[in-house]
Symmetry: C2
Subunit: 235 residues, 2 copies
DNA sequence: GACAAATTTAAACACCCGTTTTAAACTCGT
DNA sequence: ACGAGTTTAAAACGGGTGTTTAAATTTGTC
């Protein structure tokens, strides 16, 4: 039988040091390759640690991964800056534009320690793991709900409205597109190298493109169509 | 030495039948799981054929895959209907709306024989293979260029204009989003089950959302009216 | 310092993958 | 009908994965 995790902090030896190093190496590898393509051998190599130790300290690969997610949520790192955007006293349109800029920039640049949280989220989006529920509830949904509230504010609609939800997905979809499909985009549009200036151009476009519709909506002619889904069920 | 492919159609025995069955099974498995997660064992099982035959008839897995791609391009199947949209005499806005409806529908419904081509493209987008260049050039780019030309027409801009390209990506990004991230979307928005009615609602939203920007762009002769019509909305 | 528990190590395990081998079974021209 | 050439079949190969084992080492405590 494999020894499971020490029940508590009974023996705080150099134990914690390898655990920490393992956790940090795992964060990088999982953020680089995603859960499925990450190997425990690469994690252990990067941590300069024996292969068997991930199973000794964490049980199995999946528990190590969830532990990485737990610490990523605990230390929001660069993602904290995104949430701060919404607390500023800017106009909603300005907040939206800044949000798109920051999100696109963080999604595209990839490599950077402070980006671990975002990169883990992107991998979970593209290829969900058994921990997808945790990632959505604790990392993605908070951001999503902030954006949804902001869009509802701009359009003068409740955040639960179908239209608000659809617009939220439209903006998320446009932004993630550049992060997830860059090889194909690069072949369709070779001039787009995603330099800093081009990142700003793209972000500004997404903001302009989206605001054209958002600012059109608050009028009374808000909805005449669609929205015939399950509206009655709620409260 | 391994026997390579028969040099030509020298011996057209029952050979062709297993080749065909292998090719068809491979199409389904590659369309289901994508190249990386597809296994030759599952392909051979589904084709009721011995494991070694894929290497005998096609050399290796990658050549089988490229052969699948070749036949997918040759028999455009349901994708032909998409191209036909652009040749109709509809107004550009109508074509765009129909295009979004058809693309979203074909992307979301997945399982269906006539959808092989689209599903192969989606997998290649999410996780490119060594054949990505071929897929882009022969399948994705033609569609992309059609859409780009259409958007240029609506906006009164050349297809090569940055703005036209950005709008093309915005529409593609919004649409693919629902195909690639459905597990996460389902958890963020549980009421969205992507029924036929909801697919139509989403497609109409993407069209409305995008046309709001498309119709207020340059057209230098109507620059003055653009400001006003922005308040008025579309008729 | 000694002893038991916790930790680390090196090796192997069991499974899956794409691919190859070897030989038997077919096909077809003559 | 024959036999060379083609096609099938079953098994194994070589490499990679996560995981486990059993011995060696380190650690904390008496």
């Amino acid at each position: 039988m494999a020894a499971s995790q020490p029940s508590s902090t009974r023996h705080t030896a150099a134990n914690d040091e390898t655990r920490t190093r393992l956790l940090q190496a795992a964060s990088e590898v999982f953020a680089d390759r995603g859960y499925h393509y990450a190997t425990v051998r690469e994690i252990c190599n990067r941590a300069n640690v024996n292969l068997a130790l991930v199973n000794y300290h964490f049980g199995d690969k999946l528990e190590l991964y969830t532990e990485v997610l737990r610490s990523a949520v605990k230390h929001p790192g660069g993602l904290h800056e995104v949430h701060d955007l919404f607390t500023h006293a800017d106009e909603p349109e300005t907040i939206l534009r800044k949000f798109i800029h920051v999100m696109l920039h963080r999604m595209v640049k990839r490599r950077e320690g402070s980006n671990l949280h975002m990169r883990l989220m992107l991998h979970e989006l593209a290829r969900p793991t058994p921990a997808v529920a945790r990632v959505v509830d604790e990392s993605i949904k908070p951001l999503h709900d902030r954006l949804r509230g902001l869009l509802g504010e701009i359009m003068g609609l409740p955040p639960e409205h179908d239209k608000t939800r659809l617009c939220t997905q439209s903006i998320i979809g446009q932004t993630i597109h550049y992060a997830h499909h860059s090889p194909v985009i690069a072949r369709l549009w070779p001039e787009l190298k995603m330099t800093s200036e081009q990142q700003d151009m793209v972000a500004d476009h997404i903001a302009d493109f989206s605001l054209a519709y958002l600012k059109l909506t608050p009028k009374k002619h808000s909805l005449r169509k669609a929205v015939k889904s399950k509206q009655r069920g709620k409260r």
